[in-house]
């Protein structure tokens, strides 16, 4: 089981440039397994780029990223769940239709897995409405269900609480804590870190493309 590894993500001298702009500047960090990391920082600090690089969606300009023991992220994609700021869902299809399609991409068989993933995020799998007609909060939850579909050992979540009402955000935070307790490693990029104050193992503060602090106390990270 990948999450039983002592280190799940290792970056060494990680640099990511977009043209002349350096989004990540020589990040060398080690992240252990079975923990909930909350990445905080101002807009443009490099949080999303770091997450995309770990997910294998952006390749390092220089330096290396090792994920779940593999230097080629594509080798461990089946063990990664990724939720981006946009929903990564087809608006014209229902939630269940979306999940059925993505389940096929992961080789996950069985209708039950899709239904359970939807129930996990407290939505109704039988809701016969295209995702485009969901509220923003419902869309975010369905997006989380998609990320959980393959039972990943590493979960990467970019702004999961944005535009979600307070009660739903708290429910999602509780779910993340529960998943961490099942020894999954979770990275959450958020502008609402207070929601995870009781659950997070570490707050990772980023500034200008660098990790400037790692602490278990939110105030210290801010």
């Amino acid at each position: 089981m990948a999450s039983s590894l002592t280190t799940v993500v290792v970056t060494e001298g990680l640099i990511k440039q977009f043209g002349r702009f350096a989004a990540l500047r020589a990040i060398s960090e080690t992240f252990g397994g079975g923990k909930l990391y909350v990445i905080v920082g101002d807009n443009g600090a490099g949080k999303t780029t770091l997450l995309r690089t770990i997910a294998g969606l952006a390749s390092p300009t220089r330096g290396t990223v090792s994920v779940l023991g593999a230097t080629e992220v594509r080798q461990v994609r089946a063990q990664i769940g990724y939720m981006a700021h946009p929903s990564l869902l087809y608006d014209e299809m229902t939630g269940l239709e979306n999940l059925r399609y993505f389940a096929g991409l992961y080789g996950v068989s069985g209708e039950d897995r899709c239904r359970n993933a939807i129930k996990t995020v407290k939505l109704d799998p039988d809701l016969d409405r295209p995702v485009g007609q969901y509220s923003q909060g419902m869309r975010q939850r369905m997006s989380l269900a998609r990320a959980l579909l393959n039972d990943p050992s590493l979960l990467l979540l970019d702004e999961p609480f944005s535009n979600v009402d307070a009660r739903s955000a708290k429910e999602m935070a509780a779910l993340l804590a529960q998943l961490r307790d099942q020894s999954k490693t979770i990275f959450v990029v958020t502008h609402q870190p207070a929601l995870l104050e009781g659950a997070a193992d570490e707050f990772v503060a980023m500034e200008m493309g660098k990790v400037v602090s790692r602490t278990s106390i939110l105030q210290a990270a801010q």
């Binding site: 997910a55 294998g56 969606l57 952006a58 390749s59 594509r74 994609r77 089946a78 990664i80 990724y82 981006a84 946009p86 929903s87 990564l88 869902l89 087809y90 608006d91 014209e92 299809m93 239709e97 399609y101 993505f102 096929g104 991409l105 992961y106 080789g107 295209p130 998609r146």
Partner: protein, 224 residues
């Protein structure tokens, strides 16, 4: 997960999305209909003249109409960045490409099936050569257009002016196929010579470009 499972799931998804939105098919139909009507008013050709110009007219109309579907095919994947969901999954790149190409092929063939009777009616067409050969020409020619079109549409989605970029990339490369399609169709309509050479050229074109697209698609998909 197997190649075919992912390809068929993606194809079913694309057909379902098109069935619900009808974005591509409506735009293609409208465009082709305009071409048929406008050219029939502009030329008013005799039956003999029609047989000589119809090959070019029909295929150029289908080529331009196909570009509409080809642009739609990837635009759908950009909304909500759904393409990233595919890229983070362990599914290989080629089933996605093949499903998209087959999906576009189906949409354009449906368009051709709907528009051909209108072309025949407006231009008073009757084949003097072996008419059945128009079927392999249509299938091979359509595949030639969509396989390259799907590939170049994937390249152009990340560019700012993607609607312009696709024809700029696609049309020059499609000239040999278009030449074969037009000449083969004209040969059959006029009954003056055999279309076999042009059909063989289309087969070779399809094999070469399908192979090249399949070999290169992963690089295109993984590009940032």
């Amino acid at each position: 997960m197997s190649f075919l499972t992912v390809a068929s799931a993606t194809l079913k998804k694309d057909v379902r999305l098109e069935w619900r939105s009808k974005d591509a098919i409506n735009a293609m139909l409208f465009f082709s209909l305009l071409v048929v009507v406008i050219f029939s008013f502009a030329f008013d050709p005799t039956a003999e003249e029609s047989r000589r110009i119809a090959g070019g007219l029909v295929w150029v109309a289908f080529l331009f109409a196909a570009v509409v579907a080809l642009n739609q095919t990837w635009a759908r994947e950009l909304r909500n960045q759904v393409l990233d969901a595919y890229r983070v999954s362990p599914a290989p790149a080629n089933p996605l490409f093949l499903a998209k190409a087959v999906g576009n092929f189906i949409f354009v063939v449906v368009l051709e099936a709907l528009m051909t009777p209108l072309f025949i009616m407006f231009y008073k067409l009757r084949a003097l050569g072996p008419g059945w050969e128009l079927v392999p020409i249509a299938l091979l020619g359509t595949w030639a257009l969509v396989v390259n079109g799907t590939f170049f549409a994937a390249i152009s989605i990340r560019t700012r002016a993607r609607e312009i970029m696709l024809p700029l990339l696609l049309f020059p490369l499609s000239i040999p196929a278009l030449l074969a399609m037009v000449n083969a169709t004209t040969s059959i309509l006029t009954g003056e010579e055999s279309a076999r050479f042009w059909i063989a050229l289309l087969v070779a074109y399809d094999v070469v470009f399908t192979t090249a697209c399949l070999l290169l698609f992963e690089t295109v998909l993984e590009a940032e």
